[in-house]
Assembly symmetry: C2
Homo-oligomer: 594 residues x 2
C-alpha cells in the first residue's frame, strides 16, 4: 500500500469505530524520545520519516504537523499521500485543535489511541475541543496498528542489571526515597511509565531502543510492593535473581488488570507523572484518586552521586581517547581524500568502539561539513552527504553510551586555513562556553538565567543561536534528561550533582556552522561559599582538544585565556597516559597553551 491507500484504509476503520478524525502521534506508550521501530506508526502511515511529526486524518483532509527542521523533507516525503504539510511556527498554520475544529462538526469525535498520548497532551485536546463541542474518544487498539502488515516485532533484548558499582545506589535505597516522597503527598501508589525512570529505579537496562539503553516496562510502586511489567522473553534467571526481594516481575500486559484492581482498592491515591504517562493508564485507574506531579524520580535521578560522578569522568576519558584518535586521523585523512561526512562519523564510531565498555552511540551523530554544519539537526544521508575537503569548517556532534556514563561532545575544526569571520565567531562561541562554565553562580540560579553567560560574547556582535545552551544527561540512559536545563524555559534551579551540556553555537546558512560542547557537573565553588551562601560552578568532564587555530586570543579576557590553557593542560594530563607515542605527541601540540 502507498500512503494514499493506507489513509483510505484507515478512514474505513475510522467509520467502523465511529470517529470522524484520527490522531496519529509520533510516540510509544512511554513517551520515549527515540522510538522503537514497532511504534513508528506515523512514519509507516504517512511516509514521512523525520523525528518530529504528528498526523491527524479527517474524512476528507489530512495534515502532518512538523517544525522548521523538516519543512523541506516533509514536502518531499508527503508528495502524493494526500496529507497536507502543516508548517508549525509559520503564520496562518492552524494548530491541531483548530484544524480538527475546522473539519468536524459539533457532536462529532476525534479518535486517539489512549496508549500513545500523554495525560498532558490528552488534556490539551480535551480542553481545546470541548469549546467546539467535539468529543475525544480514547481507545485501543491502535487503528494504524490494525492496518500495519509486517509491523516489526518489539526488540527483545535481555533486561540486565546496572550494578551498584556503576550506579552507586541500591534499589532498596531508591525505593525508600520514592516511598518517602509518596508518603509526603499522600499517594498510596506510583505508576511509573517513563522508561528512564523505570531503569533508574530498579537499576535495570536493556537495548530495546537505539541510543538509550532502557527496558520497555512499567513499574508500580506501593508502600509495600514494587512490580515491574515487562515482556517475559526479556527476563532471564540472572535478572530474576537480582530483583528478588526488591520487585516482582510480571508480564507487560498484566498491568491493565492490576491497575483495575488497584483502582478498586480502598483509599487509593495514585501518583501520575502526566508528561510521560499515557492516557490509558489513567483511564484504566478510573475511580482512584490521583496525585498529578512530576515523578520524584526525575529530581532524584538528576543528582548524581559520587560513584556516578567518577563513572562519568572515566567514561569521558575513554571517549576523549576516541576523540583524540579521530581528530588526529582527520588531519591526515581529509587531505588524502575520499572521506565524506559519513565515512568520518563511521570512523569516529569505530574509535569509540575500541574503548572499554562501549555499548552504543548515545544519539545519531551530526557530522556536518561547511554549509551542512549550519543545519542544527543535520543528519548526513549516504547518497547526498558532503565530501570533506582540506578547506572550510567541519562540525561533529556525537556521544557514546558506557555503563559508567553517557557522553555528548561537539568539536568544530578547521580543515584548512579559516577566514577572519570564522575565527571571530569560533572565538566568541568559545568565550560563551568558557564563561558559562567558569563564572560562579549562587544557589537558586536557574539555567534560564545562567545560560545568558554563554550568549554574551555573541550578543555583543548581534549574533545568537536558535537553540538552548544545554540539557541534562542521564547515566547510561537518555542523553537528554530533565528536569534542569540551560534553556530559555522555566526549569528548577541548578543543584550540586547535576550534569549538563554546555553547547553554544553559531550558524551561517549556506556557509558554516560552529558549536563547542562539553558536559559539566554543577559543583560547589568552595572558594566563594560562605556560611550564608552557597556558590556553584561547572566542572567539565569532557576531555578533547579545542581547535586553537580558530581562536583569536585578542578577543578574550585574561581569565578566559587562562581557563582554556588550564583546560588543555588537564586534557593532556588525563588522556596522555592512555595514548601511544604518536597520539601523545599530537595531543601535546593540540593542547599547547595560547
Amino acid at each position: 500500500m502507498n500512503a494514499r491507500e493506507k489513509v483510505s484504509a484507515l478512514r474505513k476503520l475510522m467509520k467502523k469505530h465511529k470517529v470522524d478524525a484520527y490522531y496519529v502521534p509520533s510516540a510509544d506508550p512511554h513517551m520515549s524520545e527515540y522510538l522503537p521501530e514497532c511504534w513508528k506508526h506515523r512514519a509507516w502511515l504517512s511516509g514521512f520519516t523525520g523525528s518530529a511529526g504528528e498526523v491527524v486524518i479527517g474524512m476528507k483532509k489530512a495534515g502532518l504537523w512538523t517544525d522548521g527542521r523538516y519543512f523541506l523533507q516533509g514536502s518531499m516525503e508527503l508528495k502524493g499521500s494526500g496529507i497536507d504539510l502543516m508548517r508549525m511556527g509559520e503564520p496562518g498554520t492552524p494548530s491541531k485543535v483548530q484544524w480538527v475544529a475546522s473539519q468536524l462538526k459539533k457532536g462529532q469525535s476525534l479518535g486517539v489511541d489512549a496508549s500513545v498520548i500523554s495525560v498532558t497532551a490528552a488534556r490539551e485536546f480535551d480542553a481545546g475541543l470541548a469549546g467546539y463541542g467535539i468529543k475525544v474518544k480514547y481507545f485501543t487498539p491502535n487503528l494504524v496498528g490494525e492496518l500495519w502488515d509486517g509491523r516489526p516485532d518489539p526488540v527483545l533484548a535481555p533486561m540486565v542489571n546496572h550494578p551498584v558499582t556503576f550506579c552507586g545506589e541500591t534499589v532498596k535505597s531508591k525505593l525508600t526515597k520514592v516511598r518517602a516522597a509518596m508518603k509526603d503527598t499522600g499517594a498510596t501508589a506510583h505508576v511509573i511509565a517513563g522508561l528512564d525512570q523505570v531503569a533508574w529505579l530498579l537499576n535495570v537496562r536493556s537495548r530495546d531502543i537505539a541510543f538509550t539503553p532502557v527496558v520497555t516496562a512499567y513499574v508500580v510502586v506501593t508502600s509495600r510492593a514494587a512490580t515491574i511489567y515487562v515482556d517475559p522473553r526479556k527476563v532471564n534467571k540472572g535478572i530474576t535473581k537480582t530483583l528478588k526481594g526488591k520487585a516482582t516481575i510480571k508480564g507487560y500486559d498484566s498491568i491493565w488488570n492490576d491497575l483495575e484492581k488497584l483502582a478498586k482498592a480502598k483509599k487509593t491515591c495514585v501518583w501520575i507523572d502526566e508528561s510521560c504517562t499515557n492516557r490509558r493508564v489513567v483511564d484504566t485507574l478510573k475511580g482512584a484518586d490521583f496525585h498529578f506531579a512530576p515523578s520524584p524520580i526525575t529530581a532524584l535521578k538528576a543528582v548524581k552521586n559520587a560513584v556516578q560522578i567518577e563513572g562519568f569522568a572515566e567514561a569521558h576519558r575513554r571517549d576523549g581517547v576516541a576523540m583524540v584518535k579521530f581528530l588526529k586521523w582527520l588531519e591526515k585523512a581529509v587531505p588524502a581524500g575520499g572521506q565524506t561526512e559519513i565515512t568520518a562519523s563511521d570512523r569516529l564510531a569505530e574509535f569509540r568502539a575500541e574503548g572499554k565498555g562501549f555499548q552504543d552511540l548515545s544519539f545519531s551523530t551530526i557530522s556536518g561539513y561547511a554549509a551542512n554544519g549550519a543545519i542544527i539537526h543535520y543528519s548526513a544521508v549516504e547518497e547526498s552527504c558532503a565530501k570533506l575537503k582540506p578547506q572550510g569548517l567541519y562540525l561533529i556532534d556525537s556521544g557514546g553510551q558506557y555503563p559508567e556514563g553517557t557522553t555528548d561532545i561537539t568539536r568544530t575544526v578547521a580543515l584548512g586555513q579559516p577566514n577572519r569571520r570564522q575565527i571571530e565567531c569560533f572565538t566568541r562561541v568559545l568565550m560563551g562556553t568558557i564563561d558559562c562554565t567558569m563564572i560562579p553562580f549562587p544557589a537558586g540560579t536557574t539555567g534560564q538565567r545562567q545560560e545568558m553567560f554563554a550568549r554574551r560574547a555573541l550578543w555583543a556582535i548581534g549574533e545568537d543561536y536558535a537553540h538552548g545552551t544545554g540539557h541534562g544527561v542521564g547515566q547510561y540512559l537518555g542523553v537528554h534528561e530533565g528536569p534542569h536545563s540551560l534553556k530559555n524555559i522555566v526549569t528548577p534551579p541548578l543543584v550540586e550533582g547535576n550534569i549538563l551540556s554546555v553547547e553554544p553555537g553559531h550558524y551561517e546558512a549556506g556557509k558554516f556552522g560552529i558549536r563547542i560542547e562539553h558536559l559539566a557537573f554543577v559543583v560547589r565553588d568552595e572558594k566563594h561559599c560562605t556560611a550564608d551562601k552557597t556558590w556553584y560552578t561547572f566542572h567539565p568532564v569532557t576531555l578533547a582538544p579545542i581547535d586553537t587555530s580558530l581562536v583569536d586570543k585578542k578577543l578574550m579576557t585574561g581569565d578566559q585565556i587562562g581557563w582554556l590553557n588550564s583546560y588543555h593542560k588537564r586534557v593532556f594530563k588525563e588522556l596522555s597516559p592512555r595514548l601511544d607515542k604518536a597520539h601523545k605527541s599530537w595531543l601535546k601540540k593540540a593542547t599547547k597553551a595560547i
Copy 2:
C-alpha cells in the same frame, strides 16, 4: 491614646462589628506605593512608621508583618504596643493566613476594609482561610479610621493638565487605544483605580501624594463615555475646560452609585486590574461579568513616545547640572567639615530646585555614608545621621520630578583615598552597569535574563547584590513603574520605548556600599538589526560623572573602557553649555578619559 489603648479600642469596635480579627494593611484605595498621610492607618494604630508593614489584630494577640529592612526599627517602635513583630522571611514566622488560623476558630471571621485591599490580596485571604473554615468579611467604614481622632484631611492640591507638549499624546488618542483593547476582550467598561493609570489616561496630574504627582481619583471608561471621580475641591475651571468633551467630572464618592448602576445594566463586562483595584469596587459591581487582567494602560504607558523620550533627555540634562553642582560642592564641603548625610541630601535638593520646571523629588533620597551606604533602603534621620568625613565611600540615590520626565540616579564617590577592595568592587559594579547597558539583546529578551549581564562581573568573584537590577519609570509619575523590569521575576520582554533604571550594587555590612544607577531607554540597535531579527540596546539618559578614582581599568575590557570614556565625553558635551566656567572646568576633569 498610645498603641496599646488604640488596639484595645479597636477590639471593642471589632466586637461591635462581629469580627474576631481585623486586618490593617499599609494601603490606600488605589494601592499607591507612597501613601497620603490620611491613609497611614497602620502607622497611626501601631506606632510603626516603616514603609512596609501589615497588622492583624486578634482578640488576644496582634502581629505586624514586615521584612528584613525593618526588623530593628519594628522591634523598637512596637515596644509596649502589645503587637508582636513578625519577621517575614525568617524560618518559623507564620504567614498572616497561618496566624489568623491559629487565633480564630472555625466559623469565626476576619474583618477587612474592602477599600484598602486589592482584589488579588483579598483572593489570597479568601483562598487561604477557606481551608480553615474562617470567613473574611469585607466592609467599610474602616474601623481604624473610626477611632482616628485628628486624622489628617486629604491633600487637596488642584488637578492640572499635563499638556501634550510634554506627554506627546492626546486624551482622545489614548481613549481610542483603551477602547480598542476593551473591544478585543469583550469588556464593556473598564474601572481604573491605579492613580498612575488615571493620570496617564486623562493627562492630569496633582500633588496629593509626596514624590508622585498623581490625582486621587477613579476613572470609568465605557465605549461611549469616560468619567473621572475626584474631589470637587480639586477641580477648577481650567481643568474642567481641558477635559470637556473627553471626560465627565463627578465627585469622588459618586463612583459607588454609578458602579451599582453599571452592574445592573445589561451585558456588562467590566475590565478590572486586580493588582491595583480595591475589593470594594468588585463587591459594588456584584452581578456584572468581569474581565480580570492588567489594565491595557500599563503596557501603553510603558512605551514612551518621541516627545516623552526627548522630555526625559531634557529633564536629565537639568538633573545632571544639579548633580555636577552637588558633586563639585561635596568635594570642598566635606573636608571643610560640618556636613552630614542630611545636610548633603538637602544641598542636592536645593541644587535640583534651581533647575527649570523642577516640581518635587521623585522619592526620599538615600544619602548613606560609609557603613550606612551598605543599608540598601537607608533613610538618614536627623538625630542619628552620620557626619561626612574626608575618608570612605559615600552613596547618594536620588531623583527629581519634572513635567518632562522623572529622574533617578545613584552615584558613589570616594571622600578620601579608597582602598583596593573598594576599587575592585566599584569597578565590578561599573562593569555590570556598562555590560547591562552596552550589550545588544534580541527582541523577546526579558529583563529577568538581560539583568544577568549586570551581575556577571560580581558573580565572577562570588559577590552578588540582594536586589533587582532595575525598574521601569513613569513620565512625571511614579519612579517605579511596571510592567517590565530588570529583576528575577517574570515580566514581559523589553520593547523599544521602555525606560528602566540600571543599578547594580555591592554592599559590605558595617563597611561601605556601592551603587551606580542610570536610567536608560530601550532603543533599536540599528547596526545589528536585520530583516528577520530586531536587536535592542540601552541608551542612557542620566548624565553625571562616575568617580574614576574608584576605577581599576585593568579589570575592564577594552569595550567597557571605551563605553565609559564615550559616556563621559557625552556627559561633558551635553552639560557643559549649561555650566559656568568653574563647573565646566571641574566637569572636564571629572570626565577625563581613563
